[in-house]
Point group: D2
Chain length 349, copies 4
């Protein structure tokens, strides 16, 4: 019953196989091999336009370097209060942008509320050097707590961004999970709604280390080769990231894996809804389930072998959890089995 | 005839196999898995002392973060004029240290000459804030041009470092090649001669992405977990770097691969010494061979299918190359075959 | 009726006179002149201990460099939500620390509430690299909105800091105003309550450009000379900052000027309390008065020649101001006259 | 006999007077006062075009922020080997640009030799992320060692810059001294020869703290307000820097002071040329004289009350100084008197 995180899972067999398949021979280094190029072409096809793709090693790097490409002196990016950019990157976004700031925007269930964003942007009068200057907006899809922006919500945010000259970045560490949940295309979930820069995550969904920064308009990526290099994210044997993506995209593996993880989360949610000992904190829409339970229930579940984390309640939902209760996060992945889920279901029945 | 770089080679089959072997199951993320810990223990054994080991994704990261751990305001690290830190990291060492500087020290055949180092350190009067303050010394073993520091030379440099309170870093992107060439132990080539921080490279010697930063005294690594995270070098599925190192060290594979690469370089050097069309620029001691030839010879070799780079002559050796000549670099690796070498030998005979 | 800011005032005649007095002759540059040393000695006397003093050019520099001396990788300093460090330095604190973050702590009337600070610190589990690591606490005395920490409140915060190994910094842009209001000594308001680093401001209180960073324990300032130089805050003719401080401290001028500014603020507050058109937002304790009034009243006052700023209500006090009302800030200084105050009083009577 | 540095001098009486004159009254802060604007207009007149002017506190700031406005990721600026940017700013240029590098270019008597510059630029192949990318060129006029670029030399360098898309910055810490020596106009020495950004120094020539960054094309300064603020160089009572410049420019005071300093240097050079104990290291063209003498002569002069520094010989001139000799720097200023010069002349006669 491994629900600690989707990054506790390993690599999907087809990913591992692809790494082995490409292990021998010689190829140009630093992202210039034929395989690197072929995978870049696949990204074009997936996004239905010519995009600029840059492989990096970690999600932290993808998010931070996305911000570095839009950084301004005294710059401020707006993100949800619980966004990874703000809470979980150990300061990398500030460090790798050379000092940018990240301002927390509130909103229920992990999603920026557009009125709060509007208010925050308004707080920066043009030319007020003391306050600094807005430089971008970042949303997370699916969010840190397993919820989703509807396409129309993304469009509304990007429209506000355009009015204010702010590029819109999407942290897609769990991009595939969101995609299959909404049932739309990658283009629909990104540039058709105005998203300009995407952190495209493969690691949490069955790769071992495959993250990409995707610029919907390659013109915005002009400085990115130098930004990536100075940030130590240019891999000499970059083709092994490419090899992972090759298998990831082949025959729609990525969507299949994400659909599986989501289905496992839904199955888990069903068990929870049927239980009298737990309740769903909010409706899960991707591969993360948050449940509220008595502390002793949590303890008992841990003792019974379930692996998961207690979670700090999001600021907007802090009143959902009573004094003697705890909020827990349960993450499913490509590697989660129905049996695990049902075993957990039995425990809470 | 692939002599462009050792990072054009792929991954050794045993490395690929280890990745597959560890692909399934669940394990704690961010470097805390059992496998991560086991490999850290192997490092202790290899270095014959308790060291602190941190996996990172690239050699650029290893070198830059090594410098970040010793950084000081206004800090200056001394390195050979052609060191990667100075010439080839795209500014990462300066960026990831928050603005440290790297001062070029001259010395023949890619090696710091201790008198020049002594002079450079003397140039910084204590407390002279205008000049800045020395913060460290970095040497590359084997060097950028395939030469080696003798153990006694490392000891002499580290002795000068100690007198001046400067930590000594070794860029070991080709550590194994140097080790088997000198025929000494890892401990002998590092801390027994006073090296305190080591960039331990596995990528160029048969891994696909396995670099480690090794602190001989774990007390010097106190801030490193935070430095690594803020630099986006903490991998969630870190165990796959560990998996590479596990296979790398098992049964001395790493030394075997390096010995092979060195032997191929020696074989290549023999062919060159026997040739009348080329001459060795200097005696190779690891897996890089530098040769001087007429430009037209270089062109002809390229046409015949040899892959290699023309090389800018090192500053100290700039007079070796005549007007109509070119210097070329030929790199061998674990994947180089005697047949390739001999085919090249036939071409230059 | 100049109430826009205390930095709209000029320089006190005695400050200007001192600059002229020291204008001729030759003296060692970069802070090493006899005058620099004499003023450093005066700081020792004022603080009743041997402190380390560094002159810088702006309050932004003093605050930012204070943070730079305590910076850690992934570091987070806690400050009040409306602190200058967070809201008004244009990103300088993040930039000049190489990427530190500043976490907003709430508390009524511009003052950190210790329970909120305690909770925030607890949010950082030791070794949690994703969250980063606490590096310090900063308080502003007098606060951005003219209120004060009692000595016992400072002591309580510093006690919490010590428990958590966090240095306590005080932003004293209006140090003198706080001091004369509390009627205590500089030592009482700082190190006797556990403050370790002080931004000591002279500019707002009659100097034209005189800010100092004071380390209560000189051992904490070891890297400061290099930090100041690399931040471009080492003035060649530093003795002219010293000259300002010389006059500032002579015969208690600084306390006299602050007492005057505070008295003017109190006089202004009396007028407001007597008025039916305005009300005090909270009780002023230094040289800043905040009043709430109908928007049309504000407009009328501006038209009548009063110079002041509308102010964004502090987060904790955002409900004090009704829809059709505005909050305004009125700042007095050494140069404010009773006549100005009373003219304003007449307008609002 | 004060020849240590022109920044050992104080402030010219007219500068001090202007500070006093503007000391009272109220004025808008942060560079927006009427006086700030009037002085900006004077800069337009002096440069015969609409320039963008930003006051900063130190020469280090002017140089570093000039570089920050042209900074690129992995960026490299070329400057003379002994330029302040490289040797004397304590790392500020690297720090305040967020990690830019400064590559040393050789050239006799403190001046970049254009062939060396050409070669250095060529070393950066477009798109080679490992090497980084050129971002600018900086020249110092007058140079660190009192020599001058002819207008035609500046034009040649700027022409090379334009071919390579590189902005040309001039470090004018001693701008006025160069100007009066060449006898040309500010426009002639800057934008008419292609200089785009100028560090305009007033401090060394009679101000106490007045430095300005001048952008010949205001479009290049778009981000400068935010760069200045985040670097803590925006002064609240900025009008006191303006006040210094007002007096500095009034009735050509600045040119008069520089002409005096240069004349004193020429008078000193005459004494040296007439002496048998010293010789000029090279011909002085501004207000710095470098002389070579026996070490014991230097000692004797110090003992006789002459204040000056021994100087490390420039790299290109390192062979001018024999084993038992020393190179010394003698700087004159607005405050130097003919009597001092002649007293020194007597000593060496």
């Amino acid at each position: 019953m491994h629900f600690a995180s989707d990054n506790w899972a390993g690599a999907h067999p087809k990913i591992a196989e692809s790494l082995s398949k490409h292990a021998d021979g010689f190829a140009a280094a630093y992202g210039t091999s034929d395989l690197d190029k072929a995978v870049a072409q696949t990204f074009n096809e997936i996004f239905e336009r010519d995009v600029a793709v840059f492989f990096v090693g970690t999600g932290t790097a993808a998010n931070s370097l996305a911000q570095a490409t839009i950084a301004k002196p005294g710059g401020v990016t707006f993100a949800h209060r619980e966004a990874h950019l703000i809470e979980d990157e150990g300061g990398a976004p500030g460090f790798l942008t050379g000092g940018a700031r990240f301002q927390a925007i509130d909103g229920a269930v992990g999603l920026i509320h557009i009125d709060n964003l509007k208010g925050a942007i308004k707080g920066f009068a043009p030319g007020n050097v003391h306050a600094g200057q807005p430089m971008g907006v970042s949303i997370t899809q699916s969010s840190e707590i397993g919820t989703l922006y509807e396409l129309s919500e993304i469009a509304a945010i990007s429209s506000l961004c355009r009015e204010n000259g702010l590029p819109l970045h999407m942290d897609g560490a769990r991009f595939a999970n969101a995609l299959v949940s909404l049932g739309c295309s990658p283009a629909d979930m990104t540039w058709r709604q105005g998203v300009e820069i995407l952190s495209f995550g493969g690691t949490k969904n069955g790769c071992w280390c495959a993250e990409a920064l995707v610029f919907m308009d390659p013109a915005h990526a002009r400085e990115m080769p130098f930004i990536r290099k100075r940030s130590a994210q240019l891999f000499s044997k970059s083709r092994f990231i490419a090899a992972q993506f090759e298998a990831y995209f082949a025959d729609g593996l990525w969507l299949e894996l994400a659909a599986h993880a989501n289905a496992m989360a839904a199955r888990l949610a069903d068990h929870i809804e049927a239980s009298k000992k737990l309740r769903l904190a909010w409706q899960p829409r991707a591969n993360e389930v948050f449940a509220i339970m008595a502390r002793e229930t949590s303890t008992r579940l841990h003792e019974a072998g379930a692996v998961f984390y207690d979670w700090k309640p999001p600021h907007s939902e802090r009143n959902l959890v009573a004094e003697n209760e705890t909020l827990v996060r349960l993450v499913t992945s490509f590697a989660t089995t129905p049996e695990e889920i049902d075993r957990f279901g039995d425990l809470i029945a």
